[in-house]
């Protein structure tokens, strides 16, 4: 029998708060993290809102005891802070007591610094501070986080666009089930950069106002930044330590839409398959899902495609659903983990967080998200979707433990 995989710790830093406690407060108070741009130095400043982490890079450096140093990217710093919180929450005594790995996802890596480097480098290839480019690659942020936490046993980095950190959690679970590792810190980190903001702008899928997922009048996504990690532990290790768990990862599914490099298929094939695979693995029937944390970016294309796939899976028995990207913005490589952490909170507190700013149901769909915090619920199983460019679609199912 493969090992069961439990979640024993969570950590998150995002526009709705610098730790899990702060995020929970914002979620309950229906306070979105989306606002005018205050930190990113961009000429698009007055055109689009962002969901920025409300700390300067200097403040982030201070938070990890690296004040004044220049060797860490914003992406790595966000990851360090969230991963440290996750480990603290899981109550590790010694990080190397068991075979412990780090699986981190990112789409931009050290791009925030590469942008500075290239400014000078393009004028003269002998110019540009090398310290600004040495951390460009995605693997760098993971190695910085691993060094910070003292993890040596195993590490890797995943980049499958906006489904990246759902895939980190999925691969972490697979490594535990296979008996390769006992514990995994899995999640992702991405900072907002001019590169991504401009990139999404060229695709004309940025809302000039705060995003309105699943709304008939939605006009695109709002970019966000952040990092989130869950601690996954094997059944065996949990028993040996008589440890308290937060939730169980009961299902995951990965499929490719194989339709278009950036657009989702009109039938939502990839989304359907990812959800179906996850349900199958969990052994749950669709009616046993109490809540869906949808991918729900707020783009015309995603919400329609995802909505159609949801209707195909759940039929008449559509569970409550919402896109918490209405709070956090779309945190790209961190999104899957951000939403997994929020799902764990929902299970632990019996509270579901709404789809902010929703007004008008989409005319193509018969379903609509809920718009007010729901409390006092027994939330047993949550399905969380993360879909990305390249048709990389992933679904996680997180369940309450008895």
């Amino acid at each position: 029998m493969p090992q069961r995989v439990y979640i024993t710790g969570i950590g998150i830093i995002s526009s709705i708060g610098n730790d899990a406690g702060a995020a929970f407060t914002s979620l309950v108070e229906e306070k979105s993290g989306i606002a005018g741009i205050t930190l990113l130095d961009t000429s698009l400043k007055d055109k689009f809102p962002l969901a920025e982490v409300k700390m300067t890079t200097e403040e982030l450096l201070e938070a990890v005891g690296h004040s004044g140093k220049k060797n860490l990217t914003r992406t790595a710093l966000l990851g360090m802070i969230a991963a440290r919180e996750a480990i603290g929450s899981a109550g590790f005594d010694d990080i190397n007591e068991y075979r412990t790995g780090l699986i981190s996802a990112t789409t931009v890596g050290g791009m925030d610094r590469s942008e500075n480097f290239y400014k000078e480098f393009l004028v003269d290839p002998k110019k540009g501070h090398l310290i600004d480019i040495v951390n460009h690659d995605c693997g760098d942020s993971t190695e910085r986080i691993a060094d910070f936490l003292g993890i040596k046993c195993f590490m890797t980095t995943i980049s499958t666009a906006c489904s990246s950190s759902a895939n980190s959690i999925m691969f972490g679970a697979q490594l535990i089930k296979a008996g390769f590792l006992d514990r995994v810190i899995a999640g992702g980190t991405d900072s907002v950069t001019k590169f991504t903001l401009n990139g999404f702008n060229t695709l004309m899928i940025l809302d000039k106002n705060s995003c309105r997922p699943f709304d008939e009048n939605r006009a695109g996504l709002t970019l966000g930044e952040g990092a989130a990690y869950v601690v996954l532990e094997s059944e065996e290790v949990i028993k040996a330590q008589n440890k308290k768990v937060l939730a169980e990862l009961t299902g995951y599914g990965n499929a490719n839409d194989a339709y278009h490099q950036t657009a989702s298929s009109p039938e939502g094939n990839g989304a359907f398959l990812a959800m179906q695979n996850a349900l199958q693995l969990s052994g749950l029937m669709p009616e046993e899902i109490d809540y869906i944390n949808v991918h729900g970016t707020g783009t015309q294309n995603n919400d329609l495609s995802e909505g159609i796939a949801l209707q195909k899976i759940f039929g008449e028995k559509m569970p409550s659903f919402s896109s918490t990207k209405s709070y956090t913005g779309h945190t790209l490589g961190a999104a899957g983990a951000v939403e997994a952490v929020i799902s764990v909170m929902s299970i632990n507190h019996g509270i579901l967080f709404p789809n902010l700013r929703f007004e008008t149901p989409m005319k193509e769909l018969s379903i609509a998200p809920f718009t007010k915090v729901m409390r006092g619920l027994e939330v047993r199983n949550i399905l969380s979707n993360s879909f990305g460019f390249g048709g990389n679609n992933s679904t996680l199912i997180i369940s309450k433990t008895n």
Partner: protein, 354 residues
Amino acid sequence: MLPLYITGLGNISPQKTWDNSHFLDEVTSVETNYLRCQDLNYKEYIAGDMVRRMSRIIKMGVAAGKICLADAECTMPDAIITGTGLGCIEDTEKFLTNMIRDNEEFLTPTSFIQSTHNTVNAQIALLLKCHNYNFTYVHRGFSFESALLDSFIRINSGESGTILVGGMDEMTPNTFAILQRLGHYKRKRVNNLGLLKDHSRGAIAGEGAAFFLLSANPGAKNYAKIEALDTFYKPDKDKIPAHISAFLERSGRKIDEIDMVLIGMSGDPANDKVYDDVRTHLFREKPQAWFKHLCGEYQTASSFGLWLAAMILKNGQVPETVRLEGVTPGKLRNILIYNHYRNLDHSLMLVSSV
């Protein structure tokens, strides 16, 4: 662990490696510090209107993937898993350059769309209409190894029977210039075949896309099988031999059973020194070979190493050009590949004949 049978190959590299009926019978000899992949007529592999939009790594990756699938006579793999250190760096640089030069104006989406690290995976899935498991790893010298580890787990759990797995990176003039300034690559040009005679700082740069069709069961054609894999991070130099011995023991192999060691020396004296103990003590009695004079150094160069091991085992011969001084190879059943990327990410692959 069940082994992974290599039932197909597709390798685009600075050598003529894409034709599996030839095995390094011609080798490129060039004065350089930057080995570029040979240019194929990509239109033979990818439709003309698509090929025009693709950057080099996408063309290399998609073509190598298609060659591999055709070689294995596989039309629909159960999974597509790749590793890449820098991903689509040419498109990334293009978008970044335009954004900075034009101060965030007049940008077009193509290079942004193609800059995501999973583009090659996505394009292969799209061409095959393959809805199956699809993953991209992007961790420096662990990128390709993570893709292999994922394959091991999927095949051992029975979730996949056939997996298309690849390692790829492209080098661009800008990335080369930056990494050269960082000391990763040599200032002077050297002959790639005489690389070890040069003691200047840095390796020679390289690139490539090497794909493998991995199967749970032997196929119509079998190059070799991967028996075991290990990754280890920033090891103490003194502890490396013990680490390798422990890996072999875990894999149920004695040192005596290893017939050859394939070493990831890159021509960078500081990084090559890391292999010293292993070469002169642990494997002193063993035939040794290397490969980075043929493909250059890059994050996923170990995928070229795996291609070489598979071809050696299939063909039963070790090309003169890859042999290192010392013991002459005899019987060839088990090859150990030991590679590290900049002494951060170390990996071991145990490859055996079928």
